[in-house]
């Protein structure tokens, strides 16, 4: 058990994935790419949870991951529906064009 990938490496990987997700959300205009970036962030968090779970010999973290996955699935359903609606409305999936509420 003590052999294998050290915890720090996994945490570092998780941090890198999370940052990539943030960068994607901040820089992309294509809403599908943003969406994928959000998924990336969620999974980065999942990775960290699993790693900690194993490090501490505690299953709570893994159970939490299942919740996160369920949530992510629901989010995908809602998010894709919004994207379809947005595309029907604007004929594009550029987030900058969704600016009806801009004052």
């Amino acid at each position: 058990m003590e052999t294998g990938i050290p915890l720090n490496w996994v945490i570092a990987l998780s941090g890198i994935l999370f940052s990539l997700g943030i960068l994607g959300v901040l820089t992309k205009r294509n809403i599908i790419v943003i969406f994928m970036s959000v998924e990336l962030m969620l999974n980065a968090a999942n990775l960290a949870l699993v790693a900690f779970s194993r490090a501490h010999d505690n299953l709570d973290g893994q159970i939490f991951v299942f919740f996160t996955m369920t949530l992510a699935a629901a989010e995908v359903a809602v998010g894709l529906a919004i994207i379809v609606a947005l595309f029907r409305l604007k004929g594009s999936i550029d987030v900058d064009r969704a600016n009806l509420l801009k004052g």
Binding site: L26, T27, R29, V95, D96, K102, G103
Partner: protein, 670 residues
């Protein structure tokens, strides 16, 4: 009349509301009448509205009669019954249950109020037949009676205060019933504000009593005072009840005196005594049956009732009692003089009411509470009658009020004239029952010669102005032919209540007759458990007192006859010879003008300053300033809201990073 053993006699028992549920009916019926007519009256037929209104009061009267019968069937000492209805306020040391008090005094009042009110309601059906807002009128009339009944049946000062304020509001609403008339609206406002001013004293005194006794129940306060129970008043420590009221105050009078004067201030406002009487003459702007209601049954009698109800408190303070007696006697004379020169038929009656209420306070002040209540009851009958007669005259003459334009109406309106003379002579103290009740008061006042003399003088003035009014309206030559030609007797629905009240005026005298006419003392005997032993004079003393009073009244009648029937014009020359006196009295002693200069105008100026300069310059400036600041801030901050989702995400990430940074710098030790 000794004050000490009275409280002993008045011990209040606890009654259950199941046994005395009729009392709820007394209150609920007028309120239901108000609710139905107030909510749906406009959609109902006039006949239905009238039936509901009159029926509600008639029902209340019958329920009160039933309660009286039940009360009379009880043994003498158990006739005071406090009925607990529900817990109204229960906040720590402050406990105000909603209790109703059924005792001889409250039942006498409830019967008088509901009985006379019923006849006035009946009369109103005829009088207001052509009124647009028929249902509003009757709804308010019912509410008025409801509040008055609540006032007299309330078992503690708090419940009494609800009724007290309620009648104040209803008088306002009914005096300014024709609110589109400037003068009516103003009179209503005046009545409300002036009586409210007095209510302030009443309220403060009530709070003081609560802070001393910890209760406002009439029975509990009386018991505590009688037994000198140990209390914990607001200033701390433990003191006996009587010592608490004897505590000196900074004003040089005892606390008890101060409280009594505060209560009396409320009575002065409500019962239109000097110096707060000014609202009552102006209240004549309301419909005439409303005047009858205010003057006879509801409203103005409240003050007298309250003083009689709390007599055990007033009796501890000779100073307060003296003030009550002096204010009463002075007001009686003061108002009577103004009645002598007034030319408005309703205002003459208004001044006579003020004057008669003065008599009642005089009676209370000298300890003759039963006499005061007796006069209250008889006055309710004959004053209601006189107002209804005045209304009948106005009805016939199309709202002419000036008695200088009337005359000779007895030929056209025999019933009105006859009933007027019955009521008028009772008012003048020449026929029962006014004769007996006024005699009882004057007799009780004989101990204080100055007050007695004022009372006799007032009796003379009363006879003078009543006869003057009668002669000018109903006899002599018709002064305006056209008015006279169109005059007609009122319909039966109006003359019937008048006749009933005329009969009642005389019949009510069986309740208490002077000693030389035999042993007719039903009322004082019945009231004795509450108000204490009434000192009944011997037949010879009573006869002597009556002769004095009748003599004074006859003198007034002779002067009036001489001045208005035998030698018309002579009195006018006398008035011309004393122009300053005439102007002083005819100008109503310029009290209204004095108040206008001292109170109304300064407060109006102050209000104008507040609504002008202060409101615009300070209040509005603050409000506008806040708005301006918010708008400027918003303009600055709105740049943040770009509408681009990525910008928001950036704020979010930046903030998260800053928090992380902070945690790193501070260390993660929570």
């Amino acid at each position: 009349m000794a004050g000490t053993h009275e409280a002993m006699a008045w011990s209040v028992l606890k009654g259950s509301v199941e046994d005395w549920s009729a009392v709820l009916l007394v209150l609920a019926l007028p309120f239901a009448g108000f609710a139905i007519n107030g909510l749906w009256g406009r959609r109902l037929l006039r006949g239905v509205v009238a039936c509901i209104a009159c029926g509600a009061i008639a029902g209340a009267f019958l329920a009160a009669l039933y309660l009286l019968a039940m009360n009379l069937s009880l043994p003498f000492a158990q006739r005071a019954m406090s009925v607990y209805v529900f817990s109204w306020l229960d906040a720590g040391p402050v406990r105000l249950p909603f209790t109703l008090l059924l005792d001889p005094l409250s039942l006498t009042m409830a019967l008088t109020v509901s009985g006379v009110s019923f006849l006035i309601h009946l009369y109103s059906v005829g009088y207001m037949a052509n009124e647009e807002e028929f249902s509003r009128y009757f709804a308010l009339l019912n509410l008025f009676v409801f509040f008055m009944l609540l006032l007299v049946l309330g078992g503690n000062l708090a419940v009494m205060f609800i009724g007290w304020e309620g009648v104040g509001f209803c008088s306002f609403a009914l005096i300014s019933f024709w609110f589109t008339r400037e003068r009516a609206a103003e009179a209503g406002r005046k009545a409300f504000l002036v009586t409210r001013f007095g209510d302030f004293g009443f309220f403060v005194a009530t709070l003081a009593l609560l802070a001393i006794f910890g209760t406002l129940e009439f029975g509990d306060i009386a018991r505590a005072l009688h037994a000198n129970e140990v209390l914990t008043p607001w200033w701390g420590g433990k003191v006996g009840a009587q010592d608490a009221l004897n505590r000196p105050t900074a004003l040089g009078i005892t606390l008890g005196t101060l409280i009594c004067l505060g209560l009396f201030m409320g009575a002065v406002g409500k019962s239109a005594q000097f110096p707060l009487y000014v609202w009552l003459p102006d209240a004549m702007e309301g419909p005439t049956p409303v005047s009858a209601l205010i003057h006879a049954a509801t409203m103005v009698t409240a003050g007298v009732y309250m003083v009689a109800r709390l007599h055990f408190l007033f009796e501890l303070s000779p100073v307060a009692l003296l003030v009550v007696a002096v204010i009463g006697a002075f007001t009686a004379t003061f108002a009577a003089t103004m009645g002598c020169v007034e030319n408005d038929i309703k205002r003459v009656l208004a001044y006579s009411t003020i004057s008669q209420l003065g008599y009642m306070f005089l009676a209370c002040g000298v300890g003759a509470y039963a006499a005061g209540i007796y006069h209250l009851v008889t006055h309710a009958f004959f004053k209601a009658l006189l107002f209804l007669c005045a209304g009948s005259v106005m009805h016939a003459l199309h709202d002419v009020l000036d008695i200088r334009r009337m005359g000779g109406l007895a030929k056209k309106m025999p019933t009105t004239a006859l009933t007027f003379w019955i009521g008028g002579l009772a008012l003048a103290g020449l026929i029962p029952s006014g004769l007996f009740s006024k005699d009882a008061i004057l007799h009780a006042a004989q101990g204080q010669k100055a007050l007695w003399a004022l009372g006799l003088f007032t009796a003379m003035l009363t006879a003078f102005y009543t006869v003057r009014l009668g002669i000018k309206v109903f006899h002599g030559q018709a002064r305006e032919a056209e008015l006279f030609e169109h005059a007609h007797e009122s319909p039966a629905i109006m003359t019937l209540p008048m006749s009933l009240l005329a009969v009642g005026t005389v019949a009510v005298s069986v309740l208490w007759m002077p000693a030389f006419l035999g042993h007719w003392t039903a009322l004082p005997t019945y009231l004795q458990p509450v108000l204490g032993e009434t000192h009944e004079p011997s037949a010879a003393e009573a006869l002597q007192g009556t002769l004095w009073a009748v003599g004074a009244a006859l003198l007034g009648v002779i002067v009036a006859l001489w001045a208005y029937a035998w030698q018309p014009g002579t009195l006018w020359r006398v008035a011309q010879a004393l122009p300053w006196l005439y102007r002083l009295v005819a100008g109503k002693y310029f009290v209204d003008e004095l108040y206008a200069t001292l109170i109304t105008r300064p407060s109006r100026h102050f209000a104008e300053w507040l609504s002008g300069r202060f409101d615009l310059g300070v209040i509005d400036a603050i409000v506008n300033g806040v708005g301006w600041l918010t708008a400027r801030l918003g303009e600055g901050v709105r740049r943040v809201q770009t509408g681009f989702v990525r910008n928001y995400a950036l704020y979010f990430v930046t903030a998260s990073l800053l928090i992380l940074l902070y945690l790193l710098v501070r260390g993660t030790r929570f």
